[in-house]
Amino acid sequence: MNKNKEQLLNKRYKAEQRFRLYGLSAIFMALLFLTIFIFKIFSTGYSAFQKTWLIVPVTFDAELMMLDQNPSKEDLQDADYYDIALKSMADLDPNANEDQENELKRMVSYFFEKEIKNELLNDPNLIGKTKEVYLTASDDLDQVFKGNYPRDLPEDQRRVNDYQLKIFDQLVANGKVESKFNISFFTNADSREAELAGIASSFMGSIFSILVCLMIAFPVAVLAAIYLEEFAPKNRFTDFIEVNINNLAAVPSIVFGLLGLGVLLAIFQLPRSTPLVGGITLSLMTLPTIIIAARASLKAVPPSIREAALAMGASRMQTTMHHTVPLSMPGTLSGTIIGLAQALGETAPLILIGMVAFVNTIPGSPMDPAASLPVQIYIWAESAERGFVEKVSACIMVLLGFLIIMNLFAQIIRHKFEKKWS
């Protein structure tokens, strides 16, 4: 009898421990996912911040460039650089036949002509001389150099052939291949060529959409929250508004995309693919988030503040505008930033309003077509070229960086400026 009891107790204690372990392992699993996730993104993405350059001697032959004696600046602009560019690549292997010359040309980006031109424009005295010029390596060689490209594949499955690899290895052996910080990733617009593609256009697109979103959502949401929390009578209509707000906060984002497409583009005829439309769509999405945050923070202001102001003879509007609202601002602002961070990461509605269009210029205003950072991630992730994989991860790192900064900022505002009432 006694033994039986002890057994039972042991069993119960074991069950207790097991249950505890389940809980602990659930948390552990969730954190493990997070770690794998971040590790994966960083390990594939960090190499995109480096760019591979080939150092190639270029002879600035005036004759090949069709230049006269003492050319003016404009002559230099209009000169023909293609031939010397081609020649300097072909000179890497003196014995190359025509096919091989073509392959040599493909070792650098199609931008190489421009790069040689810029070199000469910077220093016009180079005419007739030879100088070693940094040329952007093609994205396949870039990947080979970073070790992301399996060299042991059969030749016909590779985009770099054996000949190119041979020349490339010679260059590496001579120290003519260099890896430098990839500035163009931050300054270039999108491009079909992975080695030239950058995030500048989508970054500006994101900034513009977020600004439009902020300018619309913040005032409307704060005013709405003030009304609902401070002035609204309790009746069916305000209940209906509440249900609407809570429901909108949980409506799938793609539905807002359909709203943007069906109303903003089809009925109001706003320009497609622009951050303006994107921002308006996002603002409708962020509205409920900000309203809920602002209401919570208005509710947190103790009634004694209101009563004191009313007792001094302030009207209800004055009480609200002079006392309650300023006191609630830290909470409202941090809620707004969190809402904007959500909007910054949103993709689906922007795809529907056409912000996936290929844009190779940097937008200058919210009325220019643009992509946004998350959409850029989607576009690159869908393209087949290997060079884009690390770009996607790098773009994700930039996006996550912004989200972290925004969330930290929200935390700081909340902790620093929010008054604790007790």
Binding site: M29, A224, N247, A250, V251, L258, Y378
Partner: protein
Amino acid sequence: MNLILFTFIVLLGFTSYYFGRKKAYTIQSTKKRLTALPQFYGYYLAIWCAIPAFIIFSLWAIFEPTIVKLLILSDYSNQGYLDDELNLLYEKSKALSRGQFTGEITPFIEASAEKYLSLRSIAQSSKVVIVLSAIIASVAYAYKRISSNSRTREPVEKFLNAVLFTASLAAILTTVGIVFSLIFQTIDFFKVIPLFDFVFGTHWYPAKAFVRDSSEALDPTMYSDTFGAVPIFAGTFFIAFIAMCVAIPIGLMSGIYLAEYASTKVRQYAKPLIEILAGIPTVVYGFFAALTVGPFLKELGTSMGLEVSAESALAAGGVMGIMIIPFISSLSDDVITSVPQSLRDGSYAMGATKSETIKRVIFPAALPGIVGSILLGVSRAIGETMIVVMASGLAANLTLNPLESTSTITAQIVVILIGDQAFGDPKTQAAFALGMSLFLVTLCLNIVALRVVKKYREKYE
């Protein structure tokens, strides 16, 4: 042009504020008592400046295009054109006047383009004149009216109240906008495709609707067996089911652990860390699922002799489940913490262990709230877009094998609407019909979930 006018009006508003306040100070200096603080006199005038400007601006925005169109089309009124042709003519001349027209330029169109331009400039300049004179008249009238005993605070506050009220309508307007944008396209869609075929058909090949000459009349028989949404609905719920299989155990257990077992220190760090998972953009999850999880599962399957698609429902659903973990864990954490301590104490006093208390007392008490949080999670899983677009298939297979690829409502909407779309085409309308069903399903889930959570909260407050 509009921007300059707008800035000018804002400047006018500030000046009238200044003059209003100044008048109040002058009255004050004559030792008369004011009925409101001086700045209210300023606000009062500024409002008198803003209202007419706003009214005229909106009237203009509404009526200008239609009036211009009427005037231009009146040239063609008795030449026997059809309505559609007239619209086309109008659009052509509009495009030409902007220099964006690429087609053949006929003298007719050129003439109306010129007329369009001149009408627009007349409209613009008359707008400027009307707005400015209306503002000046109304401000002057109000300025003359204010005196020592005129009421200014009440009208200003009434106005502010109206502004606040209007802002609170934004939420309703958004909902109305959603329904509005979905319903017309959906109705048009069901005019061509019978509702029955959509809800019970088992073949979904919207690509088939591509091959149509737009000048031909719509032939509904062409679309039989094209827009049967059963595979899409099944795929959506299937992927959501897989996601919940991952999210419910992990989310619920971690919520319970955080609420009942974790020390304050663990809670302080673990909770925000788990919530990071909710802050990661979904497109990032999609990339992760497509690039890492999909190929990993495929390799794993091959090594075990299983045929796994690289775009399996398992990969998309699993990653989606990870995304939903924090929603369930923090909501159930909240719900469990709000169970009154007395219930726990009672159970401990009867000699129950902690886990027995949780399983037999707290869990049943918190069940409505937990169900609510799970329903919100399901609604999120159904509406999730980017993960499925990137990681699951785009062809709609009717399958219950998690290793094969399926498609979802959201993925199909994106597939159909990406790139250019022609309104009035059954294929585009199909996307809106899918959107409508998505909206309705998530609406029901949300309302039920929110009500359940609210009821539960009230019970213990």
